[in-house]
C-alpha cells in the first residue's frame, strides 16, 4: 500500500530524515517508534505531501506521490492526523467531520449524514452539536480521527493519537483503531505509548535521529539492543542485560 524509498530531508544543515525506507502492507497496522526528535513527524509530513523530500521516492497504492500536494494525496486515499490537534474550533463536531466527508460527497445533507455516522463509529454520536473548541483533549483526538475517517481513506496516518490520554481512553481508542482496521483501512501510526504499539501493530519501524535503526515484529524490536540504546542511552542495553542475568542467577539460587 505504501512504499517509502530512501527518502531524505535536510533542514539548513540538520538531517531530519536520512535515507529512510519502509513498507506498509495493505490491511495491516504498522507503527513507527523512536525517541523524541527522531524525525517521525517529519517523515509523516513528507509522506502526506506537506514537505517535499530532497531525494527518494514515495509510492502509494502503486502510484508515485513524491511531489504531490496534501489535498491530492488525500483524494487518492492517504490521510494524516496531526500530533498537535487542529480542530476547526468555531465549528461543531458534526460540521468538523462533515468537512472530511465532503472529500467524497458533494451534497451538504449527505456530508452531514455521513458525519453523524462516523461520529457514532468513534463514540461521539451524542456530541454532534458541541463546539469543537470546547472539547477535552481526548475529544479533540477522537474528532481528529473521525474527520480523517470521514474521507474514506485507504491508508490512515495517525500521529501520536494517544498522547495525553489516560488508560481508559487509550483502551477505547485501541478498540476503535482495531475496528477501523477490520473495516479494511490500512493504518500507519506514530506512537510513544508502548502498550498500544504492542497490542495494535503487526510490524514496527524504529527511527532515531532521522535514520531507520530497526524494524520487525514489535516484541523483537523492543528487545533489540540498538533500539534500547536509542531510548535509554548508550550502554543501556548491556546494563539491562546484566541486571536480568543477575536476576535469573538469583532465582536459580533461591530455587
Amino acid at each position: 500500500m505504501l512504499e517509502v524509498n530512501a527518502v531524505c530531508k535536510n533542514f539548513g544543515g540538520l538531517n531530519a530524515v536520512s535515507s529512510a525506507s519502509l513498507v506498509v502492507p495493505k490491511g495491516k497496522i504498522v507503527s513507527l517508534i523512536g525517541p523524541n526528535g527522531a524525525g517521525k513527524t517529519t517523515l509523516f509530513a513528507l509522506i502526506s505531501g506537506f514537505i517535499k523530500p530532497d531525494s527518494g521516492k514515495i509510492f502509494f497504492d502503486g502510484k508515485d506521490v513524491t511531489n504531490e500536494r496534501p489535498h491530492s494525496i488525500c483524494h487518492k486515499g492517504l490521510v494524516r492526523t496531526f500530533q498537535v490537534v487542529q480542530p476547526f474550533a468555531n465549528l461543531s463536531v458534526q460540521e468538523n467531520i462533515a468537512v472530511g466527508a465532503h472529500t467524497r460527497l458533494v451534497k451538504r445533507q449527505d456530508a452531514l449524514a455521513k458525519a453523524a455516522e462516523v461520529a457514532a463509529q468513534v463514540g461521539m454520536g451524542k456530541m454532534l452539536e458541541q463546539s469543537a473548541g470546547s472539547l477535552t483533549i481526548a475529544g479533540r483526538k477522537c474528532l481528529e480521527l473521525a474527520r480523517a475517517l470521514a474521507t474514506e481513506p485507504k491508508l490512515l496516518l495517525l500521529d501520536e493519537v494517544m498522547a495525553g490520554l489516560n488508560a481508559t481512553e487509550i483502551q477505547e481508542i485501541v478498540n476503535i483503531i482495531n475496528g477501523i482496521r477490520d473495516s479494511g483501512v490500512t493504518i500507519f501510526l506514530i506512537e510513544h505509548v508502548m502498550q498500544a504499539v504492542m497490542s495494535l501493530s503487526d510490524y514496527t519501524y524504529v527511527l532515531n535521529q532521522g535514520v531507520m535503526i530497526a524494524d520487525g515484529e514489535p516484541r523483537e524490536v523492543t528487545s533489540n539492543p540498538a533500539v534500547i540504546e536509542a531510548y535509554l542511552g548508550h550502554g543501556a542495553a548491556d546494563r539491562i542485560a546484566a541486571i536480568s542475568t543477575m536476576n535469573s542467577r538469583n532465582e536459580s539460587v533461591d530455587a
Binding site: 502526506s48 506537506f50 500536494r69 496534501p70 489535498h71 491530492s72 488525500c74 483524494h75 490521510v79 494524516r80 492526523t81 496531526f82 487542529q86 480542530p87 476547526f88 474550533a89 468555531n90 465549528l91 460540521e95 462533515a98 468537512v99 472530511g100 465532503h102 472529500t103 460527497l105 458533494v106 451534497k107 451538504r108 456530508a111 474527520r147 480523517a148 474521507t151
Partner: protein, 340 residues
C-alpha cells in the same frame, strides 16, 4: 436558532422591506434604506472573503471602482446599453479579483500582508484611473448623459424622468433586488460544499489541506465571488449617480465601508452585513442630528462614531450583533425549557 426559524425571519424581513416604500413617503427614509442596502451589498461582498474566508481585504474599493468604471465607460464611450454593460462590469471585475487572488494566494500571502497587498492594488488603480485620461477620463471623471425621455427610462436604466413611482422608488427596488441576489448567493454558499471548505480553510488551512481541500482554489473562488458581488454595488452606483471619478471609485472610503458592516453585524453570517449597515447608518443619522444641532453640520462625526463602534465590537462583541442576537435567542429558549 435552526434553519427554519432563520428562513422565516428572512422572509418576514424581505417582505417588510419590499412593501415599506408603499407606506413611507419621506424621501429621507427612502434614501436611508437605499444607503443601508447599498452598504449591505458592499459589506456582503467583503464578508465572503473576510468573514467566511478569514482573509481581510483593505482594498475592496478595487472591485467597487472597477465595476463602476467599466459600467460607466462602456456607456460613455460606446453607447452600450447599461443592461449589456453590467455583464462586462461583472466579468471584468471578477477577472481583476482573480488576478489579485492569484498573485496573493499563489505566493502564500495571509493576514496583514494580504491586507497590505489589497491596499496597494486599490491605490495602484486609483493612480492609474487618475493618470490615464485616454482610458478613464482621468480626474474629470465620467459623466453619463441624463436621459430625459420617459420611454427610454428602462432601456437606459435611469429613473429620473420615468414617472412618479419609478422616480421615487426605482433605485430603491433596484438595490433591493441586488441585495436579494447577493444575499441569496451567500445563503446558498453557506449550505454548500464550497462554503464548508472555505470555512475550514479559514479555521485551519493545514488541517483543511490534509482533508483534501485545495486551499488555493477555494480562496480563488472566494475572491472572485467577492469581486463580482462588490461589482454589483459599483454598477448600481454608476446608474444611480451617473458620475464616477477616481476618488469615489478607488478611494479608501469604500474599502472601509465594506468592512464596517460585516464586522459589526457579524462576520461569516448572511445577515451580518445588513444588520451592521442598518446599525451604523441608524446611529450615524441620530448622531448627525444631535451633533448637528450643537456644532453645525461638520463632516467626520459619523466616521468617528463608526471607528469607536468598530473597536468596541472587536473588543467586546467578536461575533457582532448577529452573535449577540443568537446568544439572546438561546437564553430565551433555554429559559422556556427550564420553566416547562
Amino acid at each position: 436558532m435552526n434553519n427554519r426559524v432563520r428562513f422565516t425571519g428572512w422572509c418576514l424581513l424581505l417582505v417588510m422591506l419590499s412593501i415599506t416604500p408603499l407606506f413611507i413617503t419621506s424621501g429621507r427614509w427612502i434614501d436611508f434604506l437605499e444607503m443601508t442596502m447599498f452598504v449591505a451589498v458592499l459589506g456582503q461582498g467583503w464578508n465572503i472573503l473576510g468573514g467566511y474566508g478569514g482573509q481581510y481585504s483593505f482594498g475592496n474599493a478595487l472591485f467597487f471602482g472597477t465595476g463602476a468604471y467599466i459600467q460607466a465607460l462602456l456607456q460613455f464611450k460606446f453607447g452600450l446599453s447599461p443592461w449589456f454593460a453590467l455583464w462586462f462590469a461583472l466579468a471584468g471585475t471578477t477577472l481583476v479579483g482573480a488576478m489579485v487572488g492569484y498573485l496573493s494566494f499563489r505566493y502564500g500571502l495571509r493576514g496583514s500582508y494580504f491586507a497590505l497587498i489589497t491596499l496597494a492594488f486599490a491605490e495602484a488603480f486609483h493612480v492609474l484611473s487618475r493618470s490615464l485620461p485616454a482610458i478613464t477620463e482621468g480626474g474629470h471623471g465620467v459623466q453619463l448623459t441624463l436621459n430625459q425621455n420617459p420611454d427610454q427610462a428602462i432601456y437606459t436604466f435611469q429613473f429620473n424622468f420615468a414617472g412618479e413611482f419609478l422616480k421615487t422608488y426605482g433605485f430603491y427596488y433596484t438595490i433591493f433586488l441586488i441585495m436579494l441576489i447577493a444575499f441569496w448567493l451567500v445563503w446558498m454558499m453557506e449550505r454548500s460544499r464550497f462554503g464548508a471548505q472555505l470555512v475550514a480553510v479559514r479555521e485551519n488551512e493545514d488541517a483543511a489541506e490534509a482533508l483534501g481541500i485545495n486551499a488555493f482554489r477555494v480562496k480563488m473562488g472566494a475572491i472572485c465571488l467577492s469581486a463580482a458581488i462588490t461589482a454589483m454595488a459599483g454598477v448600481y452606483y454608476t446608474q444611480k449617480f451617473l458620475f464616477i471619478e477616481p476618488g469615489i471609485a478607488y478611494g479608501p472610503a469604500k474599502s472601509v465601508e465594506a468592512l464596517f458592516a460585516p464586522i459589526i453585524g457579524g462576520l461569516g453570517t448572511v445577515i451580518g452585513p445588513l444588520l451592521g449597515s442598518f446599525f451604523i447608518h441608524g446611529i450615524g443619522e441620530i448622531t448627525k442630528e444631535m451633533i448637528g444641532q450643537v456644532f453645525g453640520n461638520r463632516p467626520g462625526v459619523d466616521l468617528i462614531l463608526f471607528g469607536v463602534i468598530l473597536v468596541l465590537v472587536l473588543a467586546y462583541l467578536p461575533r457582532g450583533l448577529a452573535g449577540l442576537a443568537e446568544d439572546l435567542w438561546k437564553k430565551i429558549f433555554r429559559g422556556n425549557n427550564v420553566r416547562s
